[in-house]
C-alpha cells in the first residue's frame, strides 16, 4: 500500500489506495488528528462534482469538527 503525503502549513494527510475491501477505496488519514476515512469510487466521483459552494462550506471549522451544536461531532 503505497502512501503519499499531501501537506501544507494548514493540514497534513496521508493518502493511499486501500484494497482490503471487496473493491478499491481511497484511504485518507489526517496525520495531525489521527482520524481515517475511506472514500469509495462513487463518493470520490461525488466530490469531483460537488458544487464549489458546497466544498467551501465544508471548510468552515464549525461545519463539523469544531461545531458546538448538539449532535455534531
Amino acid at each position: 500500500m503505497e502512501q503519499r503525503i499531501i501537506a501544507s502549513e494548514f493540514a497534513e494527510v496521508a493518502v493511499s489506495l486501500d484494497t482490503d475491501a471487496n473493491g478499491p477505496r481511497l484511504r485518507i488519514e489526517d496525520l495531525r488528528g489521527g482520524r481515517v476515512r475511506h472514500l469509495d469510487a462513487l463518493e470520490l466521483e461525488s466530490v469531483v462534482w460537488l458544487p464549489e459552494e458546497r466544498l467551501r462550506e465544508l471548510l468552515d471549522p464549525s461545519a463539523g469538527r469544531w461545531s458546538d451544536r448538539p449532535g455534531d461531532e
Binding site: 501544507s8 502549513e9 494548514f10 471548510l59 468552515d60 471549522p61 469538527r65 458546538d68 451544536r69
Partner: protein, 416 residues
C-alpha cells in the same frame, strides 16, 4: 520634528540624514511604499489556482494568491480575529487559509469562510470580517504591482517610459513572456534602501567595485561604462532610470553579445526568435535586455530581476532571481547559471555591491561632510529625442532623476 525635504534634497547634493534618520524612513513608508505602485512579484509565481507566495510591500507582510477563477490577489497576512499571522510558509498551494491560533478560516481571496464553535458569535456568517486586501493590484508584463492608495495614478501612468523597458525584456522570449520561477535569493544588507536603488544604475562604480571580477573573467562589461563608451544613463521620469547599453551593442552588431555569448551556443533559441520575428530578430538579439531601475523597488539587470524591500532605516533585503524566458529552455539554463554566478550566494557581483552598501551606511555615521554629491555629469547632460534627460554611461543622471521624484512624493502636502 518636520523634515524639510526641499532643503535636504538639492539638485546636486542630498543630505546624509535622508539615509540615517528613522523619522525619514517612517515617512517614506507612508508617502512612498504605502502610496505609490510597488512591485510585489510576478504572476508566474502563482501559476495555478490555489498557489500562494508570501511577499512584502514596504514592511507589510503580504500574501499573493491565485484564486479558483484565476484572479491574483494581495492579502494582508493578519487574522481579522486577533491579528495573528495567517500564513507562515514562503509558498504553497491551498484554496483556503486557517489561522493556527483559533482556527478562523479564509478563502484565498480574503473572504472569511468560518470560525470554530460559531454559536459564540450567534451562528454562521454573523461576522462581516475578512483578511485585509491591498486596495489596488495591477500587472504589467506579468509583474504584479500593489498600491495601498485607493486612488491615484494608474499603474500605466506610474510606469511611464519604464513600461517600454519591461516590454523589451518580454520580447526576448519566443512566447513574449518572462517567468520568475527559478526561486529567490535574499540578500540582507545593513544599509538604507535608497543606496541600493541609486547603485543599480550608477555606471560610475563598476570599474572600481567590480574591477577584479571583470579582469578575472575577461568580461567586456567594464568597458561599457568607461568614458569612451557610447552607452548612456537615462532619466526616464517618475524616478525610473536606465543604463542604456544598446549603442554599444549596436556598434558591436553581434547577436547575443549582450549576453556575453554567441548564437552558436543557443542555436534553438536564436532559430525560434528568427522564425517568430523575421528581420526584426536581429535588432532584438543584438540589443538584448534592459538595465532599468523602476521606482521604487524593481530592478531589471539584463539577466536578473531584483526586488528591493526596505526593513528599517539601515536595513534592506534585496530579493533576486534569474530571468526565465518562456519557450527558451536552452537560454534559461544559461540565464540561471549566469545569475547564480553574479548574484548567487558565492556570486561575484552582488557580493561586491553589498559590501559597498554597508560601508556606505557606516561611513555616513560620520558627522562631516553632511552631504552626498550627485553632480557628476550635470554639465554635459542633454535631452534626447523623446525628451528624456541623458548623461554618459557613468554620469549620475539616474540618481538626480530618482531624487527629483522622491522629493515630489515626500513633499506632498496631502501626505498622510
Amino acid at each position: 520634528m518636520t523634515v524639510r525635504y526641499s532643503e535636504l534634497i538639492q539638485p546636486e547634493r542630498v543630505h546624509g540624514s535622508l539615509y540615517t534618520d528613522p523619522g525619514v524612513f517612517a515617512e517614506e513608508l507612508e508617502r512612498i511604499w504605502y502610496r505609490t505602485w510597488v512591485c510585489v512579484g510576478h504572476v508566474s509565481e502563482v501559476a495555478r489556482p490555489g498557489d500562494y507566495v508570501r511577499k512584502a510591500v514596504g514592511t507589510q507582510d503580504v500574501i499573493m494568491t491565485r484564486s479558483a477563477d484565476g484572479e491574483v490577489s494581495l492579502l494582508l497576512n493578519r487574522c481579522a480575529h486577533r491579528g495573528n499571522l495567517v500564513c507562515e510558509d514562503a509558498r504553497g498551494n491551498s484554496s483556503s487559509f486557517r489561522c493556527p491560533y483559533h482556527g478562523w478560516t479564509y478563502r484565498n481571496t480574503g473572504e472569511l469562510l468560518g470560525y470554530p464553535y460559531n454559536q459564540g458569535y450567534g451562528g454562521k456568517g454573523k461576522l462581516s470580517l475578512g483578511l485585509g486586501r491591498v486596495p489596488r493590484v495591477d500587472t504589467y508584463q506579468g509583474f504584479v504591482f500593489a498600491s495601498f492608495a485607493a486612488d491615484g495614478p494608474s499603474l500605466k501612468e506610474h510606469l511611464g517610459a519604464a513600461a517600454g523597458e519591461l516590454d523589451r525584456l518580454a520580447r526576448l522570449s519566443p512566447e513574449g513572456e518572462i517567468e520568475l520561477t527559478a526561486g529567490w535569493l535574499k540578500h540582507r544588507a545593513k544599509a538604507n534602501w535608497k543606496l541600493l536603488v541609486e547603485n543599480e544604475t550608477d555606471g560610475y562604480h563598476p570599474q572600481f567595485v567590480h574591477g577584479s571580477v571583470f579582469s578575472v573573467t575577461g568580461s567586456h562589461i567594464g568597458s561599457l561604462y568607461s568614458d569612451k563608451s557610447t552607452a548612456v544613463t537615462r532619466d526616464l521620469g517618475g524616478g525610473h532610470s536606465e543604463n542604456d547599453l544598446r549603442p554599444e551593442f549596436r556598434r558591436m552588431g553581434t547577436p547575443m553579445a549582450w549576453f556575453g555569448t554567441s548564437e552558436a551556443k543557443v542555436p534553438e533559441y536564436v532559430r525560434k526568435m528568427r522564425e517568430l520575428h523575421g528581420e526584426q530578430a536581429e535588432e532584438i538579439l543584438i540589443e538584448g535586455a534592459p538595465h532599468v531601475m523602476v521606482f521604487p523597488n524593481l530592478f531589471v539587470a539584463e539577466i536578473s530581476v531584483f526586488m528591493i524591500q526596505p526593513v528599517a532605516v539601515d536595513e534592506t533585503v534585496q530579493h533576486v532571481t534569474a530571468v526565465q524566458l518562456k519557450g527558451a529552455p536552452d537560454m534559461n539554463r544559461r540565464l540561471l547559471s549566469q545569475c547564480v554566478g553574479s548574484v548567487g550566494p558565492a556570486g561575484m557581483l552582488l557580493a561586491d555591491d553589498s559590501e559597498m552598501y554597508e560601508r556606505n551606511q557606516r561611513g555616513m555615521a560620520a558627522r562631516m561632510p553632511e552631504w552626498l554629491d550627485i553632480r557628476r555629469g550635470v554639465g554635459r547632460e542633454r535631452v534626447d529625442e523623446n525628451g528624456f534627460r541623458v548623461g554618459t554611461a557613468n554620469d549620475e543622471t539616474g540618481m538626480r532623476g530618482f531624487w527629483s521624484h522622491y522629493r515630489s512624493l515626500m513633499e506632498r502636502e496631502d501626505a498622510q
